[in-house]
């Protein structure tokens, strides 16, 4: 790298790859007292040392937000960074995920991103993990001082949220501050975005504000099957009904939105379907958008939201200022608009409220009704919950979807009433789901 210039060592700084003035822009916030600093703040020339050498930051996601976060955090004085991402690089990422180039397509995002940052920013050590967040347990997450999420999935967010809540240690009902790992979460969609700071056990968590993430609306089946009106209906028809029937690429071959041949097939059939009903507007781009549920994205929104998140990382690690309290919304469709407010904790939050949640059903309700409640209620929004209960002293799986053989065995339970299943008033049901790393407890109250 630097064969011509002699790196100049900063007083008290690290060895190689340091030069004079490197941290001037940041130093002013760490070494000087000020009128707006956090009460915990102490001006010191040692804070930079802590941030560079000791502070460990975890960045979840190395995509649109992740690339920006890596750059922002690395240039803010943090050199111990881990990044987790289970994806590989796609051509359509390159309009904003600037740590990747054409030659990197197909490679793991976390690894290429880490490489780029480590090369561009001397002294920075980003450790990549080409894995799912669920592949790690609390021993992994516990090592970090701050965790920042740049995810594109509500399920993943809720899982992270649940993981950090599970790390909390309570003494006499009060949370031990040293067990709290701040979670900074960013999200973007087109020209809209938001950044929030979550102090698990203290502030509102992801699940406290689940209504801010409304579930995706799918088209009604009868529209898709027999009454299409929009080009989107035609594509959904091909995706959901025609493909499983025709199996165009083989009996076991599912529709892969990333395979251009698959999309081409869907596009052709969608055109045919549309022609049948005199519907115009089916294009290749629209087809791909529907199949892959594509969300439009640009570099600028990701830059803004990641920057806001990284500013919070800096504030929290240095105590230089009070952190955002606790939710900022951004939109630059018409001028630039931000709105900052304090999201409130929910007393009965399914994730952070600590007490088993009440579930009220008549004893003659069926297990199916309980299942529907878990998936459809706007504040639970579970995906495929597995329900177990202690019946006559034994742990009984009432219903589990994710393993085919168990699903078959327990399916008859869905049409049985709670009474028939041997459940008693006041008993606890344990529910596991992808949306949370820990099993959730519900207390069953019979209304009749």
């Amino acid at each position: 790298m630097a064969d011509s210039d002699e790196p100049m060592v900063v007083e008290g700084g690290a060895g190689d790859g340091e030069w004079e003035g490197r941290w001037n822009h940041i130093q002013k916030f760490l070494e000087r007292p000020g009128p707006f600093t956090h009460p915990d703040f102490e001006a010191s020339s040692e804070s930079l040392q802590f941030m560079l050498e000791t502070c460990k930051v975890l960045i979840i996601g190395a995509g649109g937000l992740g690339c920006e976060l890596l750059k922002d955090v690395a240039l803010s004085g943090f050199h111990n960074i881990h990044v987790v991402d289970m994806d590989t690089i796609d051509l359509s990422n390159l309009n904003r995920q600037f740590l990747f180039r054409l030659k990197d397509v197909g490679q793991p995002k976390a690894e290429v991103a880490a490489d780029f940052i480590n090369t561009r920013i001397p002294g920075c050590c980003v450790v990549p993990h080409f894995k799912k967040i669920q592949d790690f347990d609390e021993t992994f997450y516990r090592q970090f001082h701050i965790i920042v999420c740049g995810l594109d999935s509500v399920i993943a967010r809720r899982w992270m949220n649940g993981m950090l809540l599970s790390l909390l240690v309570y003494e006499d009902g009060v949370v031990d501050p040293s067990s709290i790992i701040p979670l900074i979460d960013g999200g973007t969609e087109g020209f809209k975005g938001n950044a929030r700071v979550i102090l698990p056990g203290i502030t509102a968590c992801i699940d406290c504000t689940l209504e801010l993430y409304p579930p995706q609306i799918n088209f009604p089946m009868c529209t898709i099957a027999s009454m299409p009106r929009l080009p989107e209906h035609c594509v959904e028809y091909v995706r959901m009904l025609l493909w499983p029937k025709d199996k165009p690429f083989g009996d076991t071959v599912g529709l892969d939105g990333d395979d251009p041949e698959h999309i081409k097939w869907v596009y052709q059939r969608s055109l045919e379907r549309a022609a049948e009903f005199s519907i115009t507007g089916v294009t290749y781009r629209l087809t791909q958008g529907v199949v892959k549920r594509i969300i439009p994205a640009v570099a600028s929104t990701n830059a803004v939201i990641a920057a806001a998140c990284a500013t919070e990382v800096f504030k929290i690690a240095s105590s230089a200022y009070a952190p955002l309290n606790n939710y900022m919304v951004f939109n630059d469709v018409d001028g630039l608009y931000t709105y900052t407010f304090e999201a409130e904790r929910k007393d009965n939050c399914s994730a952070c409220s600590q007490v088993p949640l009440d579930m009220r059903f008549s004893s003659s309700s069926t297990l199916q009704e309980v299942l529907d409640y878990l998936t459809e209620s706007s504040y639970l929004q579970m995906k495929s919950p597995a329900i177990t209960a202690s019946v006559e002293g034994k742990n009984k799986t009432l219903y589990l979807q994710t393993v085919a053989s168990i699903e078959q065995r327990t399916r008859p339970n869905l049409s049985k009433t709670l009474k028939e299943l041997g459940l008693a008033d006041g008993q606890e049901l344990a529910v596991a789901d992808v949306t949370t790393p820990q099993t959730m407890l519900f207390r069953l109250s019979f209304t009749s």
């Binding site: 630097a2 790859g17 030069w19 002013k28 000020g34």
Partner: protein, 533 residues
């Protein structure tokens, strides 16, 4: 050739869904100028290079210092000692081979002295971390030739943007929550005829349950009008009665219980918005009455010619209405009925656009221009967006800074809340003065912080006096701005980089609406404000 086009479509897919192929084309033909490749500057450019801006030119006479590399992703350790424009261009160019990067190793002031016309070639000039005098000089040159100017400044935990453009028109503003254009209060003849073709009372259940709610409301409205002397439901009570009328229209089973007719539920839900009177929005009326619309000459931009044509349409064929938009929302309906209804609106829109085109033709003729100047496609797009047209006028910097025209009212009323973002604006203007007087910024070195506080305070006082602003600024802010020492922390620069880049894209593409005209970001509180100064 075909391969590159296809791979560009793939690469830019996610953004093409926002501004379309036509927006991308304009972007790829634009040439932006950045003055000063500081972190703020390179972050702005990064967010323009990635989406494929045609070309950029960096103007910067500075030599790269150690601290520049520390906060700037597009400078590396071996950039130290080199010219900053050159060093940054290399690493920015590397982001996207579709883009053409250039640099000029001179300061903006030097160029203004020797070759001010150099700036005329750009689609927009972005000036970052500029001193007041350079800012004003540039502002005046660019204002005179109509080149938009975006001033950006990251100062400590504050981000500042100022857009300077005399007139910026937007046809495709893409409003978030647009009201539909259904004409139910004043149905055109083809719509009335189409509604006539329905006989709800004699329909079979299947057809009855799949009749579009637009038809349902139209039918019941006809009945209401005959029963109410031609007056539509106006207040809450009447609208509720109207909703009830529609509910009564739901088919009943033999036992008298209502059937499940979702289309009727939709109709009830949409009564409020469906009864909105069709009229020309006041914002568009204002545009009709503007000078540019009233005086169409051979110099008039396409926007004003088309606007005038629409105005003529409104006065004549439109009978007080804008050209029909031609779209309807999705609704419960069988395919045939929906498509037929949609076509009624579509055909009307085509008809209206053709009438507008005739007005365009005659306007162009009177100004001596050929009709080919404006294509059918342009006119159709204009008509479709007629209700959402926007024009932005930003005052010149000269006007903002002159004592006679400073926006005293805005500044004073905002300062009623002493912690509003306006205080940051006033501090920035005070820092300008400090620089003018001392040729440096306050508190850059540790030992200067204390002593500069009183010096900066004098600047604040003189600023407020000169503009006769009866406001007070807390000492805390003066201390804080000395503490900043003109630092440019990366995360604040990155925020501004994203915000500014998108405004540049708006200016170049003429899609979405730019801010007017001062944007302030407070990274300490994570709040922002926009002021028209």
């Amino acid at each position: 050739m075909a391969a590159t086009k296809a791979s560009k479509e793939q690469k830019y897919d996610r953004q093409l869904r926002l501004w379309g192929d036509h927006g991308q084309e304009v972007l790829e033909n634009a040439h932006v100028c950045l003055i000063n490749a500081t972190a703020s500057g390179t972050e702005i450019l990064k967010n323009l290079v990635l989406p494929g801006i045609g070309a950029f030119t960096i103007i910067d006479g500075h030599t790269v210092l150690g601290e520049d590399v520390g906060n700037n992703f597009f400078l590396s350790q071996n950039s130290i000692g080199r010219n900053r424009a050159q060093a940054a261009t290399e690493l920015l160019q590397e982001l996207n081979s579709d883009v053409s990067g250039n640099f000029v190793e001179e300061s903006a002031d030097q160029l203004l002295d020797n070759d001010p016309e150099f700036f005329h070639r750009f689609s927009i000039v972005i000036g970052v971390q500029l001193s007041e005098s350079t800012r004003l000089r540039l502002g005046s040159v660019l204002w005179a030739v109509g080149v938009p100017f975006l001033v950006c400044w990251t100062y400590g935990l504050m981000g500042y943007m100022r857009l300077v453009v005399k007139e910026h028109t937007v046809i495709e503003s893409h409003p978030d929550n647009a009201l539909e254009d259904l004409r139910l209060d004043r149905p055109f003849s083809e719509l009335t005829d189409h509604i006539q073709s329905y006989q709800l009372e004699s329909m079979e259940k299947k057809d009855h349950s799949h009749t579009p709610w637009i038809v349902i409301i139209a039918k019941f409205l006809e009945t209401w009008l005959t029963e109410h002397d031609g007056q539509p439901p106006k207040n809450y009570k009447e609208k509720e009665a109207f909703r009830q009328m529609i509910r009564e229209g739901i088919l009943k089973k033999e036992n008298g219980v209502r059937e499940d007719e979702e289309n009727f539920e939709e109709a009830v839900k949409n009564v409020n918005t469906a009864l909105n009177p069709t009229k020309v929005p006041s914002s568009v009326e204002d545009l009709f009455n503007s000078e540019q619309c009233t005086n169409i000459t051979s110099q008039s931009a396409a926007f004003w010619v088309m606007l005038r044509a629409v105005k003529e349409f409104v006065l004549h064929e439109g009978k007080g209405c804008l050209p029909a938009r031609g779209t309807i929302p999705d609704m419960i309906s069988d395919s045939q009925r929906f498509i037929n209804l949609q076509n009624v609106y579509r055909d009307k829109a085509l008809q209206d656009a053709a009438a507008v085109a005739k007005h365009v033709e005659s306007l162009l003729q009177t100004t001596g221009k050929t009709p080919e100047t404006l294509s059918e496609k342009d006119i159709k797009l204009f008509c479709k967006n007629a209700a959402f047209l926007r024009v932005v006028h930003c005052r010149s910097l000269a006007e903002e800074y002159a004592v006679e025209s400073v926006n005293k009212d805005e500044i004073t009323s905002c300062m009623d809340s002493p912690d509003s973002e306006m205080v940051l604006y006033l501090m920035l203007r005070s820092v300008d003065r400090f620089y003018q007087q001392h040729s440096r910024y306050p508190g850059v070195y540790n030992y200067q912080v204390e002593e500069d506080i009183s010096k900066l305070k004098l600047c604040v006082t003189s600023l407020l006096q000169e503009y006769n602003l009866n406001v007070s600024i807390k000492d805390d802010y003066i201390h804080e701005f000395c503490r900043y020492g003109a630092a440019e922390p990366h995360t604040v620069a990155a925020f501004l980089g994203g915000a500014a880049a998108q405004e540049v894209i708006k200016m170049v593409s003429h899609q979405f609406v730019p801010f007017n005209n001062t944007f302030i970001y407070n990274a300490m509180s994570q709040t922002s404000a926009t002021y028209q100064l």
